[in-house]
Symmetry: C2
Subunit: 459 residues, 2 copies
Amino acid sequence: MLDGTLKSLFLCPRSVVFVGIPRKSGPGALNPVDNLRNWGYEGDVAIVHPHVKEIAGMSVLSSLSELTAATDLAVVSTPRETVPGIIRECGLKSIRAVIVTNQGFAESDLRGKELQRDMITEAKNFGIRILGPNTLGVSNAFHLFNSSFMPLARQETPIGVVCQSGVFFVGAAQLLGGMGIGIDVGNACDVNIVDALEWLGTEERIRVVAVHAEQITDGSRFISVAEEIGRRIPIVALKTGRSLEGAKSAASHSGSLAADDRMIAAAFQKAGILRVLETQDQRDLVRAFTRLPEMRGPRVAIVTLTGAGGIILLDAMERHGLQPAVLSSAVTEGLRNLSPDWMPIANPMDIWPAVMKNGMQKAYGTALRDVLADPNVDGVICVALGLGHAEQQHLGAEQVIQELSAQFDKPVVVWLYGSQPEEAVYRLEGNGRALAVPSLERAVRVLAAMMRYAKWKNM
Amino acid sequence: MLDGTLKSLFLCPRSVVFVGIPRKSGPGALNPVDNLRNWGYEGDVAIVHPHVKEIAGMSVLSSLSELTAATDLAVVSTPRETVPGIIRECGLKSIRAVIVTNQGFAESDLRGKELQRDMITEAKNFGIRILGPNTLGVSNAFHLFNSSFMPLARQETPIGVVCQSGVFFVGAAQLLGGMGIGIDVGNACDVNIVDALEWLGTEERIRVVAVHAEQITDGSRFISVAEEIGRRIPIVALKTGRSLEGAKSAASHSGSLAADDRMIAAAFQKAGILRVLETQDQRDLVRAFTRLPEMRGPRVAIVTLTGAGGIILLDAMERHGLQPAVLSSAVTEGLRNLSPDWMPIANPMDIWPAVMKNGMQKAYGTALRDVLADPNVDGVICVALGLGHAEQQHLGAEQVIQELSAQFDKPVVVWLYGSQPEEAVYRLEGNGRALAVPSLERAVRVLAAMMRYAKWKNM
């Protein structure tokens, strides 16, 4: 049973108290109050520090006992020996949700393990739930709230994140293509990956969830929760600690012990969780699910300006279980009429000769419209140019790709090459449903994984 | 035997005649004369066109017979039926090097195959060598010369390119990280991949060669040439048409028939050619060889701000045959002195707690210097931050990484994460020997492949 109130306390707190933050504020201070201010958080903020009266221009309480207002969430970042006592103080103030950010607990040494146990004991006594320790906590761009001491970019994307490391918060752009709501469970001494997943599963604004897990406890609940959420929201998971060395290191990093990797693989498959082995694939897939319609089968049409690019795609498609669509003859007719007589028309559709004869817009538009309309095609990969402004006017295809991808209910993935592809990517993705990827092979991997998800979902 | 004169005619022509170029010039015209002008080519340029008197502000000859000056190179781009005749005219003018750019030959239909044969017959009669057809020709940033009708960026990088498609010219930035000298052999009706490789092998300014091959003919010469060049210049090859569908398509694209893929793999291995299966790996490796010293063994040290990142790296290292270095105790001592007591020091070296205590410069500098000095370490992977300017002042490590990587003869590969990594990448790579890569796993693949190359070279 999902505790909606608890979820709100962590993800949408109306009031927060920070216990133990840096005295300084500003760049390099790593003061979470700065971050809240930058994000424009509208709730109440209190600060507890035993030795100073003012931090970041705000008055400071010398201990939690001075707190007068009811408070939704405490963010604790004090020396480890003090933490169990502070949890107790939170309990006495009827705070039900606590984030413990510091390191030095089960992931470190014996004393750290002991302190983590003590912390949980205190929490249980008061009905407190703890997120952490060893975490940046939560980040909710929609609620203008984050508990992180590292500066984060705020972006209202439909991407939910459950992770065991702050690198997915700070590096959200590189690793996931953005983050709307994130929950870093850290050592997961109490709130764990399944809880966090359950919270995100009920968020209307989240359309895909990325999971980074070093350890999955509560396995059978994890499977049933994931399976249920997965019907509505695809889950893309990176389970690390797969190697022997990685597993040993995971045990020390988040205090976890990695389970048998093959068991994980089987469980993920049953639950419809898309497992990625590389961070890049997680990023591509997360971005794909925020943009693209369903990939209903393995049949891919390729529209390309380069024959070589088509061949590279075919090689990758074979590796990843996709097939070149056998195009209807009506489809190939359109391009044939635009191409020189000597040009063989097939899939991949190499449209360069047609571009030379008819210009980019007409050739690209004809080919792409025809393959999108073909019932033998499940998804399309486009290869197009990204040149300097003057040349792009004549040789760019982003507008026609954008328009056509919005008209058909099939995924369109694009690789752009040339001297200046960035601007074309921006235009292409700015408004519409096409996805740009940084390499040909990544286009193939995206469609292959989307197909596996649709297959599971429609089973 | 390398024909140095011939190589010069193609790569460093003192004079060039274009036969059949667009009447228009400027953006979208795809006029190669524009490109030459933009690059500042200093040789003589003549233009032949039967119907117009002036193109791009230059006077035009109505046929090759009007050419008076001795000319090194002809670039032919006329309707296919005319090409054998034009080759003959080139012969009558004692032109020894001809690039045929147009499509419509052996890659297209029976008539195209016939015309390609006729073209070769004419060329043989006159001792002409042909590059192409179906090619952008050559590009030599050092000589300010290219024969391409597509606009290209000029960049004096030590990267040589041999390819069978213009996508590697136009998309050099995406696919290879730049191109100093490129030779697109297209259908390779005469000058083939081995010839091109041989030419690049004697170029002092080239330190790595990227090969894109759809077909490798002249197999035994290829192996011996590659083996010899490879001692000085690493060769990174993408052989496409590996899949059944890809091979079929390769046959029509460049008119070639793909050989048994396993034979290719064995031959590449013997010749010390680094084979990549994905374009991204080719880019990373090409860039790596232009920057990094040799990777002498499998032992990698990791310096990281994130434990999770270290685990992801360990997982990838196991997949790619690298090992976590067992650090000397003297090495771990340095970081131990900077870290809290509870922090276990090992490899990966998670330096975040030391950063919190001592600041980024001191913690990163100590850890990185120590692992670079450790004889048990062959190469280093760094994980560092790329934040906004104000924060980066305090939390950036690019300067210390740059300085230390220049002091030691070991490869250092860096993954940067955060809200603004681009500027940090720029600073890091601007002056020094570290390489930045866009994902953790790509750092591992780079070092693994570099190790394989060093092993072959030092065998």
